[in-house]
Assembly symmetry: C2
Homo-oligomer: 204 residues x 2
């Protein structure tokens, strides 16, 4: 049960306050469960602190993670109608990003992923949100659909105090290198190994 006490104070010339306000780049990778789930859990906490939340899901199917999406839509409404927590946007690649007019060619996942990243890069430059979840974003990086160097440069140079959490297996080494917080979710045991199917409320 670690608490917020650093092991050492770095000799980086920053004040504690400046260091405390440094934006975080977090990566959840590994073959185990909980990568996205923990990212959404972080977003919960950020929402509660009043941060402006944006989730971008780089998934092919619009049916995935509908449970989390539904909850965050409730939270977004709580903000909009009752001033509680922060505002929430939830975008998914699925059948085309919500901001995009290119809805016809929903099978070109590579182009859709590149469009998604281009939009995120614009929003980072404009400081549009406080907390970004780029869910399953390691896959377009891995498959070369989005350029890792471009991502790292834009993340490194993002202005202000914008936190970013990236999830997915096989995070590129350069991304792990660049991140402040990296957790590997390792699979020790999974019910599907025993032939069980996913079930409502647990898997989705």
């Amino acid at each position: 049960m670690p608490h917020g006490r650093p092991l050492q104070v770095p000799d980086d010339g920053m004040t504690t306050r400046a260091r405390r306000n440094t934006p975080v780049l977090a990566v959840h990778t590994g073959a185990g469960k909980g990568k996205s789930t923990a990212a959404f859990g972080m977003a919960l906490r950020a929402w509660n602190a009043g941060l402006n939340i944006a989730v971008f899901q780089f998934v092919k199917s619009a049916k995935w993670k509908v449970g989390e999406e539904a909850v965050f839509r409730h939270l977004g409404r709580l903000h909009d109608e009752h001033g509680v927590g922060g505002p929430v946007e939830w975008h998914k690649m699925g059948a085309g990003w919500s901001w995009s007019r290119k809805r016809g060619d929903e099978h070109d996942h590579a182009a859709a992923a590149a469009d998604g990243w281009a939009e995120i890069a614009r929003r980072l430059a404009a400081q549009r949100h406080d907390f970004y979840v780029l869910d399953e974003f390691t896959y377009p990086l891995k498959w070369g659909w989005v350029d890792v160097d471009d991502v790292l440069a834009r993340l490194r140079n993002r202005p202000g105090r914008q936190h970013v959490v990236i999830t997915g297996r096989d995070a590129p080494p350069a991304l792990v290198q660049a991140a402040d917080l990296v957790t590997e979710m390792a699979k020790i045991k999974h019910p599907m190994d025993a032939g069980r199917k996913g079930q409502k409320g647990i898997e989705w």
Copy 2:
């Protein structure tokens, strides 16, 4: 991006439906971040599916994880007032369990942990909830405050379809053995290693 397709169908005489409805015992362990956060993320999904949620935090300080608690209290109200999602109860050991009258002796953490488990055991027997988070519960097990064999026996024999998620470092081997889903959160990199302090919206 695995989907809900089992690798093999087990020869256990169960129908797919029965297997799908098997309650899950999940363990999040390891030295990395995200153990509790992923458990609360699972609880989000369960809440959205209308399950009855109960969180029991085996923490000494009442100040920990107040962000998550605040969000789940909002979700509980959404259920109570608008019939959305499931009901939520959130209990923490902190300065004494909410159901307990023993508020005087808040420094006897061993007794408080044993009281907490005794209450959970009663609720499991009564099928009071659908989804239990036993947050940081590995510590009282590790320190011998709660008997591992008793926990395993009661979990094994719990009636109905009650899902249980247990978090914390150093999960006892027998618990890992008994669990259906085990993820180890391994610490690859953490900002506090670089001397940063925790910050609002990120760490709490």
